[in-house]
């Protein structure tokens, strides 16, 4: 008889990381013996010194606790599933879960064999009549634990669809607060949520969509210190972050804990998606061995993003998460999907696992999490340009009030200039400053300004490199700070 033993998360580390082990046995007791013969380390976790099953270990055959059947002598049929379920009271003895801000309770730690209530059967009926999902698949979804990193543009549709689909446990990690500029695309949050923590807002919305879904909220920044411990508790990781350091962190922690990483990323009108899963194919580092130099690829805040784009990419991620859970073929493995919302085209690139990959290749050199800010070059002090002179918006206001003779150059784009401007500013977009250098009077003091102070610093660098000799001063915080601190009538965008 071939039976499948389902290993609970805390014990997987002693079973070669497997969530399921197939053995050949006639009774539940034999099956567990087979299991502990194959994975010796498990023995002491399942059996006491008297060679009896430990009392905090519950074993289920089908939907029944074997204590209510014939104990270890319970006969198992070919193809049947045996579940090891650490009991609620004793759960901490086998799996300690020390993650701080998690609002977990004990029953979430163990996987009780799943049944669907009549309510749930009605709710998921359109899934249940799909042969590809069916009752079995729906139970897999209910048993699944999915961790979504970020509740922003990608995390919003992703979370909504995973909850709606009946994923049993959704972990959400975020530390941010809902801002009104998020609402154009982060549809998990509403107008009433502005100012609330994203995690609270997301939890309410997910619970409203599906009260059967357990939401585990982690109001924290994902770091090299907490990622591994957190990832171990989940089956699938979904990357909905918005910056490179966290993307490398999510990838590395996924590879080190053996989890699939369902990836999505967006830029203006373009999206990328893939399933990175080192055990089965390429990881993020096989595709992008090194991060781009800092500041070269604009973020959504700098470059803008079409609101519906993360909706499309995030739902593609949700689709792949569900397929990974269902064990479907045809997941987006070893393929990078490139989507262009403006041209409305989908393309896919074939990827291969890189044997030289420092993380998942043949001779890995990365065996633990590193400092990702440093890896992405973000710790090189930006003030490395010691000759960059800066002023604050209040100092600029004082300059205006004193009647000083200076020029203000705005290096944003024309459409941004349309939205808001600081009085007297002359518009020369960043891409044109060098060509239009003669329009900037070298004899006068020049204050250079953009939205937040980054592009203007670049413009100053370009001008200096091009041989501009006048005095150039960067406006710290740009027009955003001007609006916040000097003139609130200037719109913030």
């Amino acid at each position: 008889m071939s039976v499948t033993i389902v290993i609970p998360t805390p014990l997987r580390q002693f079973a070669g990381g497997n969530s399921e082990v197939e053995v050949s046995a006639a009774t539940a007791g034999d099956a567990l013996r087979e299991l502990t013969t194959e994975h010796g380390e498990l023995r002491k976790h399942l059996y006491n010194d008297q060679d009896k099953l430990r009392n905090f270990i519950n074993v289920y055959v089908g939907d029944e606790d074997i204590r209510h059947l014939d104990g270890p002598a319970t006969v198992v049929k070919d193809g049947e599933t045996i579940m090891i379920v650490p009991s609620i009271a004793g759960g901490s003895a086998v799996g300690t879960r020390t993650f701080l801000s998690a609002d977990l309770d004990a029953d979430k730690q163990s996987r009780v064999p799943t049944e669907l209530s009549n309510d749930e059967i009605a709710r998921y009926s359109r899934h249940l009549i799909l042969p590809e999902v069916g009752l079995e698949g729906q139970k897999k979804l209910k048993n699944a634990r999915v961790l979504t990193i970020g509740t922003g543009g990608l995390g919003s549709p992703l979370g909504l669809y995973l909850a709606a689909a009946g994923v049993g446990t959704i972990g959400v990690v975020d530390f941010d607060v809902v801002d009104s500029s998020n609402l154009q695309r982060q549809i998990i949050h509403g107008t009433k949520d502005v100012g609330r923590s994203k995690i609270e807002s997301a939890r309410d919305r997910l619970q409203d969509i599906n009260p059967h879904t357990k939401v585990e909220a982690f109001e924290t920044r994902l770091t090299s210190e907490n990622a591994l411990e957190l990832f171990k508790e989940f089956d699938v990781i979904v990357d909905g972050t918005d910056n490179f350091p966290t993307r490398y962190l999510v990838n590395d922690a996924s590879v080190l804990t053996g989890k699939p990483n369902v990836y999505g990323s967006i830029f203006r009108f373009e999206g990328q998606a893939s399933v990175f899963w080192a055990e089965k194919g390429a990881c993020y580092r096989c595709l992008y061995p090194e991060p781009p130099p800092p500041g070269l690829v604009p973020s959504c805040a700098e470059g803008g993003v079409l609101g519906v784009l993360p909706g499309i990419v995030g739902t593609i991620q949700a689709n792949e998460v569900i397929k990974v859970i269902l064990g479907a073929e045809g997941i987006l493995l070893n393929r990078l999907l490139l989507f262009d919302a403006w041209k409305m085209t989908f393309r896919q690139l074939k990827l291969r696992k890189d044997p030289e990959c420092p993380l998942c290749g043949d001779n890995p050199t990365i065996k633990e999490l590193i400092d990702y800010e440093q890896f992405c070059g973000l710790k090189d002090p930006v003030e490395a340009k010691p000759d960059l002179e800066e002023i604050t918006v209040t100092e600029l206001k004082a300059l205006f009030d004193s009647g000083a003779d200076f020029q203000l150059i705005d290096v944003r784009e024309p459409h941004e200039f349309e939205i808001a401007r600081i009085p007297t500013a002359k518009l020369i977009p960043l891409g044109e400053v060098v060509n239009r250098i003669c329009e900037i009077k070298g004899a006068k003091t020049t204050v250079v300004q953009c939205k937040g102070g980054v592009r203007s610093a670049k413009a100053i660098q370009y001008l200096k490199d091009a041989g501009f000799e006048g005095r150039l001063i960067n406006l710290k915080g740009g027009i955003r700070a001007w609006s916040n601190e000097v003139d609130p009538s200037v719109p913030r965008y």
Partner: protein
Amino acid sequence: MKVNVLFFGVTADIIGVRELELTAEEPTTAGSIINQLSRQHPALANHKLLIAINEEYADANTVLNDGDELALFTAVSGG
């Protein structure tokens, strides 16, 4: 020979178009096409470009054939 070059993300911003047909001397590698483009658009050289040839991830040393499609893109981080 002719090569059709597609630009994604920041590379499209730099070149100003999303698609370009280039003529090159044979034999030509993906890298030499990028060098050719970088001479006209120096900002391209600042980026770690990823390359796909005929929809397959490739490296800069790959030799191109007449009619190949070369796609250039960068990592993006938005979410």
